[in-house]
């Protein structure tokens, strides 16, 4: 069958190019036939001329069947298509207004879909540009934490080493640090400021070999280059950085980069298009993971079995399935776990610990952090833009219908002259396909501009999300399919309808008043009702998301983020050890307090809503109302003097940290209301003691005060029980802290003063990651902001399209009724009667759409519920507001044509055909 098709195509293609020879052959063949026949007649006794005549007569219409022969040989359909295309283009050119509106409408619909899809493609669908990506898995574990199940994706370095060494199912296991973004600087340029910083990541030495990535110049890490803490200060850089910073000079090898206090030598350049295994981040520098102590503040993690910070990616051995690998690796993991010393742990910790089991996640498309965070919002957005596209399609279908009705005579005539219906449908479809393809092309342009905007919204200015959203073949294919599908959807119905209604009717009976037109009109109205309904669903969704954002932005987080400057300070970078660092912190604090414009200042390990957390089990709580042995996971923070005053978190009971608390006095803590309620109910916790386990073991903390509840990790969370410890009393702590400076002036205006103070104390000190608390809180709302911005945008687009649709249908209906209105007015109808007559129709359509839309939104908004905060998916106020917005806008769309109707001059109208 296929062979036959190919053969046919080949012959036809040949015929297409050798047309002249084909014609000559045909002629010769027929001449031969004619000659033979002539001979036969002559042999039968006819005279020569008569024989020729008879032969020719019998032959019939020579040209006709020559044509038939030729048709067998050539691509008739291709020629027809070309003819249809030319005709379609002519039609579109003749109605430039229609064409522009239709193409723009489609471009908007298709462009929005392409934009969202290209992000989905980049985040979720695109394969990593590495060797056999489908054999890659990410190693994680599943288990319970405080009794709740969760999936963990990070492991400690010692556990990684053991998994690497003893597993039998992977050709290799590689580790990389997902959580920390290193800031690197070309050596010697640190002083010029943070603008030139490069993002870097720590990886195990086998990272590149596991992925099958080879350096295009220089080399990647040697197998032993991640042995020994801080032993190999080498770096591999990305192709992009090589281009950007070194102009692709081969001299780059041996150049130096500075990270923290350490200097790294560049040993190689990664190939183009490789930017790590996480589609959401683009790294430019890779360092051996063993350089962590030098590259990352906070001590040597290489020996800490309890610090989970590495993500693991592994390549399955040939013939080993992910299932087998999981089973085998889990046994190994359990053995490793059992070797750990857990004697000091609480019963709950141990129970939790042994629920942990290895899971393997497919990693062909990269590590899945971004996917987890954004897949739901992205799919929701995809759903929204799909609705927008449907509305756009409906609109164009409506336009085509209205326009087609003006072509009824033409089409009726052609049908009457014997044109086949299929042929006409095909021709009308060619026109809609043309529109769709033009819309698709324009849509691609939209998307080209829109996708980066989308990524910016996702990243919310933090630069954390960097996605490559260039339209690749998948995206182009998607857009093309979408455009063609779209063309079919909006083209088929009108084309079918138009040709069906008329077949069998004589052309001269079709007039503008024809009863036959009612069908077109009814279809148009149904389409508008659908548009109104869909728009309502979108507007309600947008309303809910906007209210969520508003609620989050206006809720009282338990602290006051206005006019608070944040900056990091890490004295260890300047070579200070613990005690020196404490003195530096104190000096900085005291001087900043005195600076002009500063109200108060403090420092802490964590700032609110930074996304970071520190938690531990609290046990042995004196006077607790909880049953003995039950441990509760409590969030912690280490804070400096004046912390609560600076952040505006009230101390409700007892006192804050004061001069009487020091490293030599008994350890004290403040707890928040939630924690007080949890452990003590209505009783006062002041003066009671608690312990932190398992590591804070011996130390007991005395509760000296209760603070108001304040949001900790995110604004949408339920405020967790939180305890605040005093940094001067914490011996084993990271030295890096974040300073909070409450100002009476715009906070960023004191940055210069801060810099001066720091340099005055020690020229090696510098402020890190300067921002404001308000900014930080804002950034945490990135996803909510993206969703509410985009859904509002799509809601407005949907509404606008629906209004255009309604306007179109009304205007069209009115044009048809001009005559009737003229008669009514001639018979004494008032302007307001006419207005009502027209408006009523629009109102009915709107109300019908509204009813269906409310029904649909009621069911549909439920899928939003996990993204909502403080508002229920069926919030009546939002539904009411959306309905009002929709109704009032559509009424305006009706009013314009209605008013025009009242201006109808009866005399003109009566003569109107």
């Amino acid at each position: 069958m296929l062979r036959e098709v190919i053969r046919t195509m080949r012959l036809r293609a040949k015929a297409l190019f050798k047309r002249r020879q084909l014609d000559r052959d045909l002629r010769e063949e027929l001449n031969f036939h004619l000659a033979m026949r002539q001979e036969k007649y002559r042999a039968a006794g006819l005279a020569s001329e008569d024989a020729a005549m008879a032969a020719r007569r019998l032959f019939g219409n020579v040209t006709g069947f020559k044509e038939a022969c030729r048709e067998a040989w050539t691509f008739t359909w291709l020629e027809n298509l070309a003819r249809d295309l030319r005709y379609g283009l002519r039609q579109l050119r003749r109605n430039p207004g229609f064409t522009v509106v239709a193409v723009l409408t489609l471009a908007l619909g298709i462009g929005a879909n392409t934009a969202i899809f290209s992000v989905i493609d980049a985040v979720m669908l695109r394969m990593l540009p590495v060797h056999e990506p489908e054999r890659l898995v990410q190693v994680g574990f599943q288990g319970k934490h405080s009794g709740e199940s969760f999936v963990g994706e990070s492991f400690s370095y010692p556990v990684f080493k053991k998994l690497l060494q003893y597993n039998s199912v992977f050709t290799d296991v590689s580790a990389f640090d997902y959580w920390n973004v290193l800031r690197a600087y070309p050596a010697g340029s640190e002083a010029r400021g943070a603008n030139e910083s490069i993002k870097g990541q720590m990886v195990s030495a086998n990272f590149f070999s596991l992925l099958g990535i080879k350096a295009i110049i220089g080399r990647t890490f040697a197998p032993d280059e991640d042995n020994g803490a801080d032993a190999h200060p080498v770096a591999v850089i990305s192709y992009a950085l090589w281009t950007r910073m070194f102009g692709r000079s081969p001299d780059v090898l041996g150049k130096k980069l500075t990270i923290q206090q350490a200097t790294f030598t560049i040993i190689g350049v990664a190939p183009p298009h490789f930017s790590g295994v996480d589609p959401g981040r683009v790294d430019d520098v890779w360092l051996p993971v063993s350089m962590q102590p030098a590259a990352l503040p906070g001590g040597n993690r290489l020996e800490q079995i309890d610090t989970n910070w590495l993500s693991l990616i592994a390549r399955l051995k040939p013939g080993v399935s992910a299932r087998q690998a999981r089973a085998s690796l889990d046994i190994l993991y359990q053995q490793i776990q059992r070797q750990r010393d857990i004697s000091k742990w609480t019963a709950q910790d141990r129970r939790d610990f042994f629920t942990h089991h290895i899971v393997l996640l497919p990693a062909a498309r990269g590590a899945n952090y971004l996917r987890e965070e954004f897949s739901q919002p992205l799919f929701l957005l995809m759903g929204m833009v799909a609705l927008v596209l449907i509305i756009a399609c409906t609109n164009v279908a409506n336009l085509m219908l209205a326009r087609a009705s003006t072509r009824q005579r033409e089409i009726a005539l052609r049908l009457a002259l014997g044109a086949r219906r299929g042929r006409l449908v095909r021709q009308l479809l060619t026109e809609s396909m043309l529109l769709a393809v033009m819309g698709g092309a324009a849509g691609l342009l939209f998307a080209y501009w829109g996708s980066p905007v989308l990524v910016t919204l996702m990243a919310n200015g933090s630069g954390r999300v960097t996605l490559d959203v260039h339209p690749d073949s998948v995206v182009l294919g998607f857009t093309m399919l979408l455009a063609l599908g779209t063309g079919l959807v909006f083209g088929l119905a009108p084309a079918w309808r138009l040709t069906r209604r008329i077949s069998g009717i004589r052309a001269d009976t079709i007039s503008r008043h024809g009863a036959r037109e009612r069908g077109t009109h009814r279809l148009g109205r149904v389409l508008v009702i659908a548009q109104v309904a869909l728009s309502l669903v979108l507007i309600v969704g947008a309303g809910l998301l906007v209210r969520t954002l508003h609620d989050l932005e206006t809720l009282n987080p338990g602290f006051n983020g206005d006019n608070v400057l944040l900056f990091g300070l890490d004295p260890s970078k300047a070579g200070y050890k613990a005690e020196g660092a404490a003195r530096i912190r104190q000096d900085v604090l005291e001087q900043i307090r005195e600076a002009p414009g500063v109200v108060s200042a403090s420092f802490s390990f964590l700032t609110p809503i930074s996304g970071g957390g520190w938690d531990n089990y609290v046990r042995s709580v004196e006077g607790s109302i909880l049953p003995a042995g039950e441990s509760v996971d409590v969030y912690l923070n280490g804070v400096g003097p004046d912390f609560f005053r600076t952040l505006g978190t009230p101390v409700l009971e007892g006192r804050g940290f004061g001069p009487q608390d020091s490293s030599s006095s008994p350890p004290v803590a403040l707890i928040n209301e939630a924690m007080a309620r949890r452990f003590f109910g209505d009783r006062s916790p002041i003066g009671k003691h608690f312990r932190l386990g398992p590591w804070g073991g011996k130390l007991g903390y005395e509760i000296i005060g209760v603070t108001g509840n304040a949001k900790y990790i995110s604004l949408a969370e339920k405020i967790p029980p939180t305890a605040y410890l005093y940094i001067p009393q914490l011996p084993q702590v990271p030295q890096g802290v974040t300073f909070e400076v409450k100002t009476a002036v715009p906070p960023l205006s004191v940055v210069a003063a801060v810099d001066t103070i720091l340099r005055g104390i020690d020229p090696r000190l510098s402020a890190l990651d300067v921002s404001t608390l308000a900014e930080q809180v804002d950034q945490s709302l990135g996803q909510e902001e993206m969703m509410s911005t985009l859904s509002s945008f799509f809601g407005v687009v949907a509404l606008a399209l629906a209004c255009i649709g309604l306007y179109g249908v009304m205007a069209y209906a009115l044009a048809r009724r001009t005559n009737e209105i003229g008669i009514r007015m001639a018979l004494g109808a008032q302007k307001k009667d006419v207005l009502w007559l027209v408006m009523r129709q629009g109102l009915l359509v709107t109300l019908a759409g509204l009813g269906i839309g409310i029904f649909g939104a009621f069911g549909g908004t439920r899928i939003l519920s996990s993204l909502l905060y403080g508002v229920r998916p069926t919030d009546p106020l939002t539904f009411l507001a959306a309905s009002l917005i929709l109704t009032s806008t559509t009424l305006v769309a009706c009013y314009i044509p209605a008013r025009r109707a009242t201006k109808v001059d009866p005399m003109v109208a009566l003569r109107y055909d």
């Binding site: 062979r3 053969r7 012959l11």
Partner: protein, 120 residues
């Protein structure tokens, strides 16, 4: 009066299908005797059917070209008995196969139809 049945190439697909297929089969069958030119095929069909079937040139040549295009026939220019240049058609293996299928189908159809006609 003689029964006269014309095989024509009919543009209208619905009424022409059967005739067109029939002509195709007749051409294929005729060519089992060896390569022939168009005129020879027409003459043969007319003679063999005792002039009951008369093949119109307007149907014959499009059919020949169509069959050639489908790979059921192959063609070559050669010299006729009267020393004229003529286009000779011959059956390809695919054509032979097609003929077998069609013959079997025709047999089944004919049996079925005659069975119906024979019932009282």
């Amino acid at each position: 009066m003689r029964l006269f049945h014309k095989i024509v190439m009919v543009q209208n697909a619905n009424s022409g299908e059967l005739l067109r297929d029939t002509l195709d089969v007749l051409i294929l069958k005729t060519l089992t005797r060896g390569p022939m030119h168009g005129y020879g095929i027409a003459e043969f069909i007319e003679q063999t059917s005792d002039d009951v079937l008369r093949v119109e040139e307007g149907a014959l040549y499009p059919a020949l070209h169509r069959l050639e295009l489908r790979g059921l026939l192959a063609s070559k220019w050669g010299l006729s008995e009267s020393n004229r240049k003529a286009k000779y058609y011959r059956l390809t293996p695919a054509g032979r196969k097609q003929l077998e299928d069609e013959t079997a189908r025709w047999g089944r159809m004919a049996t079925a139809i005659s069975r119906i006609l024979e019932t009282a």
